[in-house]
């Protein structure tokens, strides 16, 4: 409730009183006790404990375990881990492979953001025009969401195949083109292929988020803009997009989260290759851990990813606070 200066006394009075009087001491909010008639006090704990324990055990504990273990190292594969302090981190920061992967992650995240947001806005605006009329369009839009990363990778591998892929056939059909790019084998373009695949799998969510935002925009703003002579692109640029700010920011945060921490598409499509051209940080972590079997060193990379991701999440919470937006 918003506190007004008109009558603060009668509103705030019952609470301190309640603390003092004996019959109200134990469970302050009376309203909630109504639902607990005949229910043991232990019930809410029994109800929520299994979930809390499972989540704490499989999401909370592993993070702490990972942090601790990143300070140890095994001198050889079978040996017991030894305390090395921050050596895993200093080694990580001085290794070329790490900076290479950080660089690739940057390209991956920014590339996916640019392509994803451009397409997301474009398609959401297009769908908004016909909203409610063509139901099957919705089903098609969500299509990629139900496909696993591996299946998407196989499909794009076929689409982008340089010998028989439909894309290159279309490109080679053009009279001035000799042969299309080798999408997956050429280090210069492999990242483009990965970005396309990643954006394809993530786009349904961006479209739906922005479309949801478009539906909430008050029509009077748009009509007012129309009266003022703003049409088409001008209206979109100066009225609609600013009003969509929360949804756009949330989409940006979500896309960055998905690309920063995403491993499936890269692993299944290129495996980090060719010549490490698509070796993102997630891929680097996987390689160090499960190919080189240097788990402790890999945990340093994992911690780094977690910190970057935590910063993103803070940004997300900040956006939520700023716009009072919950979704």
């Amino acid at each position: 409730m918003t506190t007004t200066t008109t009558a603060p006394k009668p509103k705030t009075d019952p609470k301190p009183k309640g603390d003092r009087r004996w019959w109200q001491r134990k469970e302050p909010p009376r309203r909630d006790n109504n639902a607990i008639i005949g229910v043991s006090k232990a019930t809410p704990y029994l109800f929520s404990l299994p979930s809390i324990l499972l989540v704490a055990g499989l999401l909370g504990f592993p993070v702490i375990y990972g942090l601790v273990q990143s300070l140890y190292r095994r001198p050889s594969l079978g040996a017991a881990p030894e305390w090395v302090g921050t050596e895993n981190y200093t080694d990580m920061f001085s290794s070329d492979a790490f900076w290479h992967s950080l660089n690739k992650t940057g390209i991956f995240v920014v590339g996916s953001l640019v392509l994803g947001m451009a397409l997301g806005l474009f398609f959401a605006f297009a769908l908004f025009r016909v909203v409610g009329k063509l139901r099957f369009l919705r089903a098609i839009t969500i299509g990629p969401y139900i496909v696993s990363n591996v299946a998407a990778a196989v499909m794009f591998r076929i689409l982008f195949n340089s010998q028989f892929g439909t894309l290159n056939q279309a490109i080679e059909w053009l009279p001035w083109v000799d042969s299309g790019p080798r999408w997956l084998a050429d280090p210069a373009v492999a990242m483009v292929t990965v970005i396309f695949t990643q954006v394809w799998t993530d786009l349904p969510l961006v479209i739906l988020l922005i479309l949801g935002g478009l539906m909430t925009i008050d029509k009077t703003h748009l009509d007012a803009a129309l009266v003022d002579g703003a049409t088409g692109w001008k209206r979109a640029r100066h009225v609609t997009i600013p009003l969509l700010a929360p949804q756009i920011l949330i989409s940006i945060v979500w896309l960055s989260y998905s690309t920063l921490t995403g491993l499936g598409v890269v692993l299944a499509l290129t495996g980090g290759g060719p010549l490490k051209a698509t070796q993102t940080m997630a891929m680097e972590m996987y390689t160090v851990a499960f190919r080189n079997l240097e788990f402790n060193q890999a945990l340093a990379i994992a911690t780094f990813i977690l910190i970057l991701n935590a910063l993103l999440t803070l940004g997300y919470v900040g956006i939520g606070r700023k716009y009072d937006y919950e979704a």
Partner: protein, 311 residues
């Protein structure tokens, strides 16, 4: 709007409602103003072009894969057309007859159904407790909702693997079910809390006066009212288990325990010369079961995607 479903009322204040309404065909003001009617055809074309682009963008990968799956190995290279000259279902027959597919398919079904059930069984009481009771630890809900964002699966991949090694839980389907449930629980609980809070407390109080026990209220009042949310959570859990790839990759080794995405991934790597029709047919067959589930409960999936993005 005439056929608005009752559950829509309970999605108040969430973005899901708007999108749902939108897709259900909420009435919108006619967009064409009087002065513009003459440009109708051009306008329609201008509206259609981006929509066609959207369909092409989304459908092409599916279509190309389907096309390849209907060719044979030689035709892949010799017949470049999208619509095969002599389509055959040989690739599908081969995949369906192979043991790798049937085994991994049933593994996926077991893990998928197991994850769905366990998620609902754990999430419903937890969400009810968070929504209805004041108790110590209630503030954990906020942490709950932020955890999946703070801890992506890539961050816990190695620790969970080490944990499974030390507890000898590697290579077991039950491990996958438990891990996927933990991944999905925060979202599931958060979704359900919103629903439970939207159910008027008075209904339960009235039932309580009439002598309904807590179990009775859950069974006959809260449960049916929250059924749409439970379906949404179930679909999300099933999707996660059906499609998850990076964790199953490290938690499972032996061929008998792999799920479909893992087996599909193995297929690309192991076979020297890729057999594209087989790969394509395998891909199509992994997608089809979920499409069946999906068309059945499409509306809930939309709600689920949107709420899933928030957290």
């Amino acid at each position: 709007m005439t056929d608005t479903l009752p559950q829509d009322e309970f999605l108040t204040e969430s973005l899901a409602e708007e999108a749902l309404k939108a897709s259900e065909g909420a009435p919108r003001e006619p967009r064409r103003t009087a002065g513009r009617r003459g440009k109708g055809i051009i306008r329609n074309i201008l509206i259609a072009i981006p929509l066609i682009a959207l369909v092409i963008w989304t459908v092409t990968p599916f279509f190309v894969t389907l096309s390849i799956s209907l060719k044979d190995r030689a035709e892949v290279f010799s017949d470049p057309s999208l619509i095969p000259a002599n389509p055959s279902l040989d690739a599908y027959a081969q995949v369906l007859a192979s043991e790798t597919f049937t085994t991994s398919f049933w593994n996926s079904v077991i893990v998928g159904v197991g994850t769905t059930l366990l998620t609902i069984v754990l999430a419903v009481p937890a969400a009810y407790a968070f929504a209805r009771f004041r108790f110590r630890g209630r503030h954990l809900l906020l942490l709950f909702t932020l955890l999946p964002r703070l801890v992506p699966s890539i961050g816990v991949m190695i620790p969970i693997y080490r944990l499974a090694v030390t507890t000898q839980m590697l290579d077991k389907r039950i491990t996958l079910i438990i891990v996927y449930t933990a991944m999905l629980l925060p979202l599931g609980v958060w979704l359900l809390v919103g629903f439970f809070q939207a159910i008027p407390r008075e209904i339960e109080e009235a039932a309580n006066v009439d002598g309904a026990s807590l179990w009775g209220r859950l069974r006959y009042i809260v449960g049916p009212l929250a059924a749409p949310a439970m379906i949404t959570v179930g679909v999300l859990a099933f999707r996660e288990a059906w499609n998850e790839f990076t964790l199953v990759l490290v938690l499972v080794n032996s061929p008998g325990k792999r799920t479909l995405p893992f087996e599909l991934y193995k297929m690309q790597g192991v076979e020297g010369i890729a057999d594209y029709p087989i790969e394509a047919a395998f891909t199509v067959l992994t997608i089809i079961p979920f499409i069946l589930v999906y068309t059945w409960v499409e509306k809930y999936v939309v709600a689920g995607i949107i709420s899933g993005s928030g957290k």
